[in-house]
């Protein structure tokens, strides 16, 4: 096996993870938006993510574009397979994206854009979760294309994973707000985070049990010796993190809950990745099978090794520029 597809596979799952946790917290803020205690809180919440949301969403564009560039076959199968949820996610992203600008320009219609922001974020998160759920259960492929039906993505299972991701993003969003805001928004965010955390724990248990139950290969991977012992630290560490966030939240910690929530996402993501290895279109096309021509992968990689560190550096710089607590007055 050539090294290039593996390198691209690693780059892509990294990009997707960066998307999930970066846009995750700003989608999460949108999910929690209407429940905020006051108009002032909503202003602060919006301001805390306004400089970042566009950059965060760019990781999604990179994940999509990167999939097309490095694994065009997978892109050509998965996008039609998830036609409707992808379109619905995009519609959600449109409504919540424009709300950032429109909300501060609107006078009478402000409430409308508050809800556009909330429901757009909710829809995008829920659809991403549904896509994830139906991705894990497999995609029908004949030849080089999707051969399933338009509503294959709808099942009780994918509805459950949709809800799981909504709560997951809400956890990221609420812990982000604990970090970036002050009283009274912070106190409210703290309450939200511990409430949401309970649901996240519940969904983690359901997903961890259900995925191996549905697929014998995954069951075999996780529950036979010696794999079982190698993989055991993953769920254990996740459980420890859940408990630790709970403790930190109740002891008044400001920054650690957010990073621990990211940790939960990371462990869940790794577990998910291990379960599906080496499938790119489960259970039909592996990542080496979907790989683009070596010269295509090499051409894009040559630039990526220079540009990606640069991107990470200036993205970090932008987060540094807007460090500390978000003020209400700063921007509008």
């Amino acid at each position: 096996m050539s090294l290039l597809p593996l390198v691209w596979y690693c780059l892509l799952i990294t990009a997707l993870f960066l998307y999930v946790f970066l846009d995750g917290f700003d989608l999460g803020v949108g999910i929690l938006f209407p429940f905020a205690p006051s108009e002032e809180s909503r202003d602060v919440m919006m301001n805390s993510i306004a400089p970042f949301w566009d950059g965060n969403e760019t990781w999604l564009v990179l994940s999509g574009g990167g999939l097309l560039a490095a694994f065009p076959l997978a892109y050509a199968i998965l996008m039609p397979a998830f036609y409707m949820p992808v379109i619905l996610m995009l519609l959600g992203l449109i409504f919540r994206g424009v709300a950032f600008e429109f909300r501060f320009k609107a006078v009478r219609s402000r409430r409308v854009w508050d809800y556009a922001f909330h429901f757009g974020s909710l829809l995008a998160a829920f659809m991403q979760g549904m896509i994830l759920g139906s991705y894990v259960t497999g995609v029908q492929v004949v030849g080089r294309s999707f051969a399933g039906r338009p509503f294959d993505w709808v099942s009780a299972y994918s509805v459950m994973t949709g809800m799981a991701l909504v709560f997951g993003y809400a956890l990221l969003g609420s812990t982000w707000l604990v970090m970036k805001t002050e009283e009274p928004t912070q106190a409210w965010a703290r309450k939200c985070a511990s409430y949401v955390l309970a649901y996240v724990a519940l969904f983690l248990v359901i997903v961890s049990i259900s995925v191996p139950l549905m697929n014998s290969a995954i069951r075999h991977l996780w529950f036979t010796s010696p794999h079982f012992y190698y993989l055991l630290p993953l769920p254990l560490a996740t459980a420890v993190l859940v408990a630790a966030i709970w403790g930190k939240l109740h002891r008044g910690s400001q920054t650690s809950p957010f990073f621990m929530a990211v940790g939960i996402f990371l462990f869940a993501y790794i577990g998910w990745g291990i379960s599906l290895w080496p499938w790119l279109v489960p259970f039909a096309v592996t990542f080496p099978q979907a790989a683009a021509a070596p010269s295509s992968q090499a051409f894009l990689l040559a630039g990526t090794v220079f540009v990606l560190p640069l991107i990470l550096a200036y993205v970090a710089y932008c987060y540094y520029v807007f460090r500390g607590k978000t003020s209400r007055e700063g921007y509008y």
């Binding site: 400089p51 969403e57 760019t58 065009p72 892109y75 199968i77 429109f102 894009l300 932008c318």
Partner: protein, 462 residues
Amino acid sequence: MFAHLDPVVLSRIQFAFIIAFHILFPSFTIGLASWLAVLQWRWLKTGNNVYGDVYHMWVKIFAVTFGMGVVSGVVMSFQFGTNWAGFSDKAGNILGPLLGYEVLTAFFLEASFLGVMLFGLNRVGRKTYFASNIIVAAGTLISAFWILAANSWMQTPAGFRIGRNGLLFPVDWKKIIFNPSFPYRFPHMVTAAYLTTAFVVGGTGAWYLLKNRHVSQARIMFGMAMIMAVLVAPLQLLFGDAHGRNTFRYQPEKVAAMEGLWKSERGAPSILFGWPDQKEEVTKYAIEIPKLSSLILTHDPNGLVRGLKEWPKGERPPVPVVFFAFRVMVALGVLMILTGLTALVLFLKKRLFDTKWFLRWCVAMSPAGFLAVLAGWCVTETGRQPWVIEGILRTSDAVSPVMGFSVALSFCAFVLTYAVVFGAGTYFILKLIRKGPAQVETYGSHGLAQPPLFTDPASKKD
């Protein structure tokens, strides 16, 4: 009941709708980002706060437009997969890396520094703030570079080979990126974007001057816009001519459709107006200028121009769309040049800022750039049909294995969403224009309460 819905036709309609909406935003923001950087530079250089007023007004409009460009652009980036999976599978090896480079070298740059540009005025130094504006402007141009390389390659594919399963494989990346039509299409589009911005800004300035509002700021808007009309509109004529001759060489059937020319002719006339009839294969009621087409396209009054009948019916583009869109684009271009010439004459007579009829004319010309851009893309994209990649892959073979009714549903959803969202966006932009520049009251995209570092005397020490 949904069986007769054709996913190819519906996907084409949806794609046309989405891309036509999307191109409006970059057309405006490419020019606006560069112009805002020029304004900031003048402001820093002269210390004249009027430049600052103008900057603050337009950066708000920039923010709204850019936001809409981002969300409609994200939709675009997924369309290739959702609706054109055949295209993605066949051409992914070539177009994937080009689009990948666009994300890596442009999108992140724009998105990250846009945050600093819109919200960072009181958080970073004046030089850094100015630099983020320049970076955003550069990002818009880099983005245009890659996407036009990709589009041009679809028009004039080069540097590739066809392998097993009909997949396309890259052979020479330099030839792929700098394919034959790219050096023409890229300047043509960037110039079009600059002109689009100039006419919007000029029209706004003219409107203030007519109303006698914000006069000192309006003179800057109108004056700078007219400089662009004088210098850049004629330049566009040259780019357009060169691009046309490039198309004549590589996509002669597109030019034949643009010209409404059916029979191959030496000394072909240029048809000013007419009605191209696809059934009878003739352009009716034609008003012609003898030999002009040959002269323009071959630089020889008796040069040979090939007519549409040389191609089988299945390989001709839809002629009327290409024919009329081309005329709309050229007519608007000519009007822009005339606007520039008139502005020059009035300026020399020292009447530029108070000639009422000309100010009214410029208000009417505000949307000219948008219309010309739409018409131009209509010519080049429709003119490439029935191919999605000229001569290599037919549009009908590029479509996804999705059902017609899925596409019909998504199209309706897009139409509704875009009507609401971009309708509201246009309303907010018009509201910002109506309000006009505020004199040093608020700053930044959302308006800062306190003076920014720019006017802070302490920051001038270094």
